[in-house]
């Protein structure tokens, strides 16, 4: 296991990029910040599978690839199956001695957006987690189907406006609570599950390294602010992520072996959720007087969830 040290950012920056520029993700997209960090936090060989989504359509547009490692895309839902097959093949060929370099260290990684993770690819992901393949699945959670122009997914939070859960005179946007994918993945008995954010680069890199080092299926949900569909300026991607983690709209924590929960970031000053909501166009309508109750509900949900996470951490469950 040769993982590069990440004591501080200066040291981290000596790693060489394996995710190349001139991909076609939007300016300011957090997806590539997250992917770069995953690929830069290890020097092992990587085999990567991607579900269809923003990341996939922007990084392998014929005749160009932005991937310096082996990479495969099949469909919207099946990157977990593709990586299962590749991992099984590695085992088989290692056993039979047919690999070009049987000793070369390799990690198997799958990427999916929230649409493919929470919704259409949920079964494929669940199957791969249950079978116990040695891989890390990373969800780039931008809380909507951004690649098709911003439709609601089951990761879209209450109150957000999307093109298929619109805010209007008779609606305040999405009515349903965001699916708790992290708990569902932990319930699979996965050895390592975490929720991370790119603004906390060090915690994220450590989480990635932990997942890569851990044998068995690991799952990481990363918040990936989407300037295009959340409606904020591209330059503010990290600022918005700061608000997401400091309002606890997006708490950072890990669950080890399904029961040991550790909170990875405790804001010194917990901000009110209005600060986060007000910075994004998708929540603009919530500031109308008739939607005040929605903001109150979101704040209550955050407070309840944070209380629960702290109780779970204390109780080690």
């Amino acid at each position: 296991m040769a993982i590069t040290s990440i004591k501080n950012l200066k040291e981290f920056s000596t790693n060489n990029d394996r995710f190349e520029g001139a991909h076609t993700l939007c300016p300011g997209c957090a997806h590539s910040m997250i992917v770069r960090e995953l690929m830069n936090c290890t020097d092992d060989n990587l085999v990567i599978a991607s579900n269809t989504g923003c990341l996939e359509v922007s990084t392998a547009v014929y005749p160009f690839t932005s991937w310096d490692t082996s990479w495969i895309h099949i469909g919207f839902e099946n990157a977990p199956s593709a990586i299962s097959g590749a991992e099984a093949m590695h085992k088989a060929r290692k056993k039979k001695g047919t690999l070009k370099d049987g000793e070369a260290p390799v990690k198997f990684v799958a990427f999916g957006g929230d649409g493919s993770t929470y919704d259409i690819g949920f079964q494929w992901l669940s199957g791969a987690m249950e079978r116990g393949h040695d891989f890390t699945y990373i969800c780039l959670d931008n809380e909507n189907y951004a690649n098709t122009g911003g439709q609601r997914s089951s990761a879209t939070p209450i109150g957000a406006h999307t093109s298929t859960a619109q805010a209007g005179t008779h609606s305040y946007g999405k009515k349903q609570k965001k699916k708790d994918i992290v708990s569902i993945m932990a319930a699979h008995g996965a050895p390592y599950v975490a929720q991370l954010a790119p603004n906390k680069w060090k915690a994220m890199a450590k989480g990635f390294q932990k997942a890569l080092e851990t044998e068995g299926p690991c799952f990481i949900n990363t918040v990936s602010p989407c300037c295009t569909e959340w409606k904020f300026e591209p330059k503010d991607t990290i600022g918005i992520t700061d608000l997401a983690t400091d309002t606890l709209m997006f708490p950072m924590y890990e669950i080890i072996d399904g029961h040991e929960l550790n909170i990875l970031y405790r804001p010194k000053n917990i901000l009110k959720v209005e600060d986060y909501l007000g910075a994004q166009g998708r929540y603009k309508h919530l500031f109308k007087p008739e939607n005040k109750h929605v903001i109150e509900l979101i704040q209550k949900n955050i407070d309840d969830d944070w209380a629960m996470l702290q109780r779970r951490e204390e109780a080690r469950v």
Binding site: L9, K10, G21, A22, T59, S66, D68
Partner: protein, 151 residues
Amino acid sequence: MQDLKLKAAEKRGVHQLGGDNLVGWDEVTQGIVLTSFEGDATDVAHKKAEERSYSDFNSYTATVASWRVMKPVFNIDVCIDCQNCWVWCPDSSILSRDKQMLGIDYDHCKGCEVCVEVCPTNPKSLLMFSEYEDLGDALASWPEKKKKEKK
């Protein structure tokens, strides 16, 4: 110092996206498979960009410079090499070598301004200018250190 002429610049940004002239009927490979490098790419993780043999299919050889309206300009005199811009650049466009920030890869930078936003120095070591602004003029017009605003 801007856009250092690292050796890799030879192969960087030479292709326009679309690549109509890059491949023909004969080059349409079986299964549309693309190779990232020419020759043996073992241990590529330990090689700097300028030490690698990128294939023509690697997007490293392409450019998205035309996406930009504004460009970030880097002022090395103010920079503290914190590497915030490096870690958060979504386009792998911060040229850092040996813990030092050297400049911006204008072939891959889309002008998102994240680097400017996360720069902690006072004044900032990265600022946005018009794409057509002369780099010398930009540096000459760099602002002074801002005093802390009194509350």
